[in-house]
Point group: none
Chain length 228, copies 4
């Protein structure tokens, strides 16, 4: 109605206050998400406890409910954020290379780096024994819970990384860089390899620094193995 008027000081104050509050809110939200990731890493998905998350950030358990509807929603938000950033990272890496072998190498390095840099997130995204409840949202559809079993299997096809990986393999096979083979199966084999390295590095079975040394031998063996 009267929006064209120059804002009074009160209005400006109000706006600033609102902004500040929103800033704080976003901040705390992120703080919670971070703490949730840590909690998750420390105790595993099944023993994940809202109350411990609260304690970690120094707020009362109730407060978390002001930012997330419930425990599940909190985990869900974490993983959704994670996939967004993951997809972007992978895409950038692939786009930065030209021929198929270079793309594979870039993709592999980016994938492993992402995992090593975001342990709790990676765990939540790819190392959950029971990701079922995440599926509907991840698939970006309103899939009814009934369909979940069916939906779980093809999930990986949706992950951007998977599509880029298959594309790179197809290109390499077509231009003769790689020997023939089913690109989807090969893609899964490569995925398994890099995922395995990250998994070990995030477990007490292999020290993360050591994992760094394994990256090159692993990738060069794989790409060499693909060649004609």
């Amino acid at each position: 109605m009267m929006d064209s008027k120059p804002p009074t000081q009160a209005a400006r104050t109000r706006a600033a206050s609102l902004e500040r509050r929103e800033g704080r809110k976003r901040e705390l939200r992120e703080q919670i998400l971070r703490a949730a990731g840590e909690e998750f890493t420390a105790h595993g998905p099944e023993n994940f406890s809202l109350r411990r998350v609260a304690e970690r950030i120094g707020y009362s358990p109730t407060t978390i409910y002001l930012y997330f509807q419930n425990k599940e929603a909190l985990l869900l938000s974490t993983v959704e954020d994670g996939f967004r950033s993951f997809d972007q990272t992978i895409e950038d890496a692939v786009n930065g290379a030209s021929d198929a072998p270079a793309q594979l190498e870039a993709l592999g390095r980016a994938y492993i780096a992402f995992g090593l840099e975001n342990p709790p997130l990676y765990r939540l995204m790819f190392m959950q024994p029971n990701t079922d409840y995440l599926m509907p949202r991840l698939l970006g559809s309103g899939t009814a819970p009934a369909d979940l079993e069916a939906a779980a299997q093809p999930l990986h096809h949706r992950v951007v990384a998977q599509e880029l990986l298959v594309a790179a393999l197809q290109k390499g096979i077509k231009d003769g860089s790689f020997r023939k083979g089913d690109p989807v199966l090969l893609a899964d084999a490569l995925w398994a390899s890099v995922h395995g390295l990250v998994s070990l590095a995030l477990s007490p079975l292999m020290a993360p620094q050591h994992a760094e040394n394994v990256v090159s031998p692993l990738l060069s063996t794989l790409i060499n193995g693909l060649k004609a």
Copy 2:
């Protein structure tokens, strides 16, 4: 003490009784371990409940404490059994092949099969985020908790599979089947790859049947990549 005396009849009876009781004791112990494994298969390590184990064998929860110090100790025994059987499986596989590439192939297949056939066990052995508490025993020492971080890193050197893997690689490099490289790093790369495939197959990200199809492409790519 008085051990040099000739045993009286009472002493012999006592001994026999002791033996019989020990037999029974061992028996129940194994029964518990078996039940624990099942429970564990059914509900996963995080939702593993002592009470349900007790119910499964028809004893009271308290009884379990007569055989194991606590829940953790029970899980520990389970995992130790697992490693024994795992080591045997791997050793048999390697011994069944002669040249290095065949040994690697056999080892890889056996490893993956073991994982796919014993999901919860594999999870407990290799996919626990917090295996710390397993370390001291696995390392066969009384390492105090303080040393744990140091202890975690070299764990994999103790695993029999790892040693066999390195040996096979060394042999292959020496006889010219494989191109040169650090056998330990290569071993870890191979380990990561097969572990990754099993991990995915045990997660909702990849269907176990699909994983079966990936085995061959994965192994052939790897072994091919090792060749000169």
Copy 3:
């Protein structure tokens, strides 16, 4: 104070503003009460939630505290409204009849109808196991909690219906329609009867439709039983 001074324009403005604000205040207060009644109807007194009342009217929970001291005070206001409307209903019914038996019949029917039409309200007014906290206000005094036990007993004497009931009985006894007896005890007997029917109808023990069929047998038996 300074009330005798002639009002300045500013004072008048202030007064008008005050009035307007008070109008708004009364309005919102009533809105809250209405919403409380609905909430209360929907979920019953025990599961009555301030937060849901707030949501219903589109205000924050905090706002309600500007109009009522707390949850209890809000419920109290609700029940006070209920008694006002109840008293009016009963009075109208009695006034619509002339002789004592007809008045009793009318009163009984009106009472039962009120109950069947306002289940949660009736429950709050007459079926609360712990109405203690309502007493002081209902009795129109500032009776301290200590006096509550003493106050509870004579409450029913204050309820308008009770007075009208006693009056009708007295009239009937005096004019020979009814046989002799203590009108107060008889009034309580009649009250008990109609209250009992409503209570059953509001419980799962008797279907409300069935209760309708019981009204006539009940009232005719009672009035017949009062006759000489």
Copy 4:
């Protein structure tokens, strides 16, 4: 097998110990039930709290779970016990009288006395707004939850008291003691009346001692009203 042997001292001790323990167990069970009834009276069905019951008897909340499966089972047990004793009381009263009017009077007095003597129990049995979950057991059948809505309505037909009441009315009508009328409707009217008196006496609206005085006027009015 060898049960015919005279019991050793150990066996006797064991048996005695068992018995004592069972005695204690029964005792505590009853203590819990009693406390539950009180809790229930004090805070109503919806605000009934297991933890408060525990506190009342001086045991930890967990302990209650050793005696009852959960909150619902506890309430259920209470009410089942109550119905058993109630049915017996009513039956005895009716059997102690011969002609129809005397039976009605006896039944009414017994009913009211039961209520006045077992406030929490009566409340739980007959004053619950939400007895739905009690229905299947009360109806003594395996009625599936789906049938509950249908089952709720005819519940009162199963209550022994109701059957005896109807029988007495039928007898009185047949032998000319009472004027004609639908015995079922009349039974419900009588039920409503006595239930109403008890309800008021158990509420703060009427003092229990006062209720005692109302019993006679109420019953005589009702029975008088039934006569020809």
